[in-house]
């Protein structure tokens, strides 16, 4: 009775907040329902036919979740997902109760929940997931979350306390901090990683956190480095090294049309060497090594859940960019704006690297803002390798409330300031960047989070992009 009342009230609150247009109602319904029935979230999670999957990490969560959802649906499962950002307990409960019947049951196989690395305890404790995926841990908005090692520490403590022993624990072997989470002893670790020398960095990448061995503090050495602290790492101090992946990316080739050809190879359980029968080839609509890593994460998770490889390939190939992550927007003038959210040095490095690798210099618009949701501190732009853009990007229009900071960063990155313009308004800045592109051409658009929301809302008003809540499913 209490359960039914809680769900009814929660749904009513959700309906009211949508009807009155006061936001998507992403956390209030959960808060109300939990007030009425404190254990509601655990009860709803337990009603799923298969269980809860939690995806966390600094970068790539949304994209990885999209891929996992596409794969699971191709395999015939029903999947419930949360809205990105609504990942505290109330938000997760809102997602679950929206999918539940009044009897307190969710008629789906999986709930796939994207959760910020600092908020994992909100999901692990009440929901007892059957799988936890950790993609990477980067320095992200230190003024909001505190320091990186604190985040990793809290994540490890939360896992030790609340991750069921039989849960799948899917970890990125290339990230030393993430790989070391296997030492917590909870869950059944499954590792994925990238083995493509061709895509390694040639120069030192400066957005590196966690240079030191998470076990003993000795500086790590790298046989291959993919950016930041990711790569084939090894500690000379205590001998720990990158775990041998259960699923490895053996090849990844960026194509001229900004797609990515990948070849994934599963390790044999008996230790025998893999054959072509263990390989899976796919063409990703999402380019860049970071998306290759997201695809490997999604494949490792779903293969471990027992999904057939052909369904995994179909799911990966059908996935297009998540909201603003690499979204191609056709403009009325026949040109294309490629939206790429940037919110921290590692993410910005991934994007500048993609721009550098894609050859042809195209115009770019970069918008820098410092609202609470972005982090007030814009120092992070100095930790990103904007030097890489010099000569590989066309003219640049900078925008946003901290446009001058970004212009200055480009000046000290060595760019010719004659090719950099400052236009405060993001939509006007985009229009100018499009003017600079040839007929039928593409422009890169690199906004921070709130700049993206602003720009996308305006493009939505012009009928050029769907609103993000419509696009999620």
């Amino acid at each position: 009775m209490r359960v039914t009342l809680a769900i009814l009230l929660g749904k009513l609150v959700g309906w009211l907040s949508r009807a009155t247009g006061r936001g998507g109602g992403t956390s209030l319904p959960g808060r109300v329902a939990l007030r009425v029935c404190p254990g509601l979230d655990a009860r709803l999670a337990a009603s799923l036919r298969r269980g809860v999957i939690v995806v966390t990490g600094t970068n790539g969560k949304t994209t990885t979740c999209k891929m996992v959802a596409a794969i699971l649906r191709r395999a015939g499962f029903q999947v419930v997902r949360n809205v990105s950002g609504a990942n505290l307990r109330q938000g997760l409960t809102t997602t679950l109760l929206a999918a539940a019947g009044l009897g307190g049951r969710i008629g789906a196989d999986y709930a796939l929940l994207e959760v910020d690395e600092a908020a994992v305890a909100h999901a692990l404790r009440p929901l007892r997931p059957i799988a936890l995926l950790v993609s990477n841990l980067f320095r992200d908005q230190l003024d909001r979350y505190g320091e990186l090692s604190t985040t990793a520490q809290r994540l490890a403590e939360s896992m030790a306390a609340d991750l069921p022993d039989d849960a799948l624990l899917v970890l990125n072997a290339d990230d030393p901090l993430v790989a070391s989470l296997a030492d917590m002893g909870s869950g059944r670790p499954v590792f994925y990683g990238i083995d493509c020398v061709a895509r390694s960095l040639t120069e030192a990448d400066h957005a590196s956190d966690s240079h030191e061995c998470p076990g003993c503090g000795t500086p790590l050495t790298y046989q291959i480095r993919y950016g930041a602290h990711l790569g084939l790492w090894r500690c000379e101090g205590c001998g720990r090294s990158r775990p041998s992946p259960d699923l490895t990316v053996a090849e990844a080739a960026l194509q001229a049309d900004l797609t990515e050809r990948v070849r994934l190879v599963a390790a044999r359980a008996d230790g025998a060497s893999a054959t072509s029968a263990d390989a899976l080839e796919a063409s990703l609509k999402l380019p860049g090594l970071y998306n290759v890593a997201n695809a490997a994460a999604a494949a490792a998770l779903t293969l471990a859940l027992g999904v057939d490889p052909p369904r995994v390939r179909e799911g990966l190939e059908s996935t297009s960019a998540a909201f603003g992550r690499l979204e191609r927007v056709g403009m009325p003038d026949g040109k294309t704006a490629v939206l790429m959210l940037v919110k921290n040095p590692a993410g910005l490095n991934e994007v500048t690297r993609l721009i550098a690798e894609s050859g042809e210099p195209r115009p770019a618009m970069i918008a820098l803002t410092d609202e609470i949701a972005d982090g007030r501190d814009v120092s992070w732009i100095w930790d990103a390798d904007l030097e890489r853009l010099d000569g590989r990007v066309g003219r640049v229009v900078v925008s946003g409330v901290r446009a001058h900071d970004m212009a200055l960063r480009l000046k000290y990155a060595g760019m010719d300031m004659g090719s950099v313009e400052i236009i405060a308004d993001t939509r006007a800045a985009l229009a100018r960047a499009l003017d600079l592109a040839p007929a039928g051409g593409q422009v890169y658009v690199l906004p921070t989070y709130t700049a993206m929301l602003d720009l996308r809302a305006r493009l939505h008003a012009e009928g050029l992009v769907p609103a993000f809540w419509e696009e999620l499913e």
């Binding site: 240079h211 007030r376 501190d377 992070w380 900071d405 990155a413």
Partner: protein
């Protein structure tokens, strides 16, 4: 004829580099290159020797707690003497955030650990009172650096738990107009001792405060090239960025 020469020693570049500290080094290097100064950066890590005769300008940035402890041990054991020697023979220095704390006499963290500093600055850093918050946000400070009182206000971003207290007679870098500064109480920000500047401001500090970058360069270059005068640069964009950051500090907090 070759241009003047300048060696920058970046202490613990791998361990103590956070909040865009790298931008300060990028700024110093570029401002040398634009003037035809032959500049070199040497990263000096744990266990490395610091040659006081080579290092004209020392830079040390901030760190997370664990890295700061690792660096503190090495700084005290291996670098204290060479740092003092370099400064005594005319080198300049910039120490930011965690590096600023370690260039004082003592740093006590919230866990009660005491790290001894190398005492370049006459100050100590204590943890915040129980329940008190980290000091986080945009800062504007009017310069008190002797001879530079008329320079544009310093702008930056601070993020520190520790409260730094200057001894009586120690020279602050600036007077806080907006933000917390050394301890959130006495209205001072940073410290100056001879040619050494310590501060909580990152952001990065130097690109938006080019006069301070040039002060450090001028001081350091004088050591090897007496009478050398730094040529002026076009700092229009730097000053626009400084002004916009100052406006933003008051608007956004």
């Amino acid at each position: 004829m070759t241009g003047p020469r300048l060696n920058i020693a970046w202490l613990y570049a791998d361990l103590m580099s956070i909040y865009g500290d790298r931008g300060n080094v990028v700024c110093l290097v570029r401002r040398c290159q634009w003037r035809g100064i032959d500049v070199a950066v040497r990263e000096i890590g744990i266990g490395d020797e610091l040659d006081p005769a080579e290092a004209d300008l020392l830079f040390i940035g901030g760190a997370q707690d664990r890295e700061q402890r690792l660096a503190a041990d090495d700084l005290l054991a291996r670098k204290a003497e060479p740092v003092r020697e370099a400064l005594a023979s005319g080198a300049s220095a910039l120490a930011v955030c965690g590096g600023y704390q370690l260039f004082g006499h003592e740093y006590r963290d919230a866990a009660g650990t005491v790290l001894r500093g190398i005492g370049v600055f006459d100050l100590v850093t204590e943890p915040a009172a129980p329940g008190a918050r980290r000091i986080i946000g945009n800062v504007v400070a009017s310069p008190l650096l002797p001879g530079c009182e008329d320079a544009p206000n310093l702008v930056g971003f601070e993020n520190h738990g520790g409260r730094t207290r200057l001894s009586v007679g120690a020279q602050p870098l600036g007077r806080v107009l907006h933000g917390g500064g050394n301890n959130g109480e006495d209205g001072f920000e940073g410290c100056v001792a001879g040619r050494a500047v310590g501060t909580y401001l990152h952001g990065s500090l130097l690109p938006k405060n080019p006069w301070l970058a040039d002060w450090l360069l001028q001081a350091a270059l004088t050591r090897r090239h007496p009478g050398y005068e730094l040529p002026a640069l076009d700092d229009t964009l730097e000053l626009q960025a400084r002004e916009s950051a100052e406006r933003r500090a008051y608007a956004a907090g």
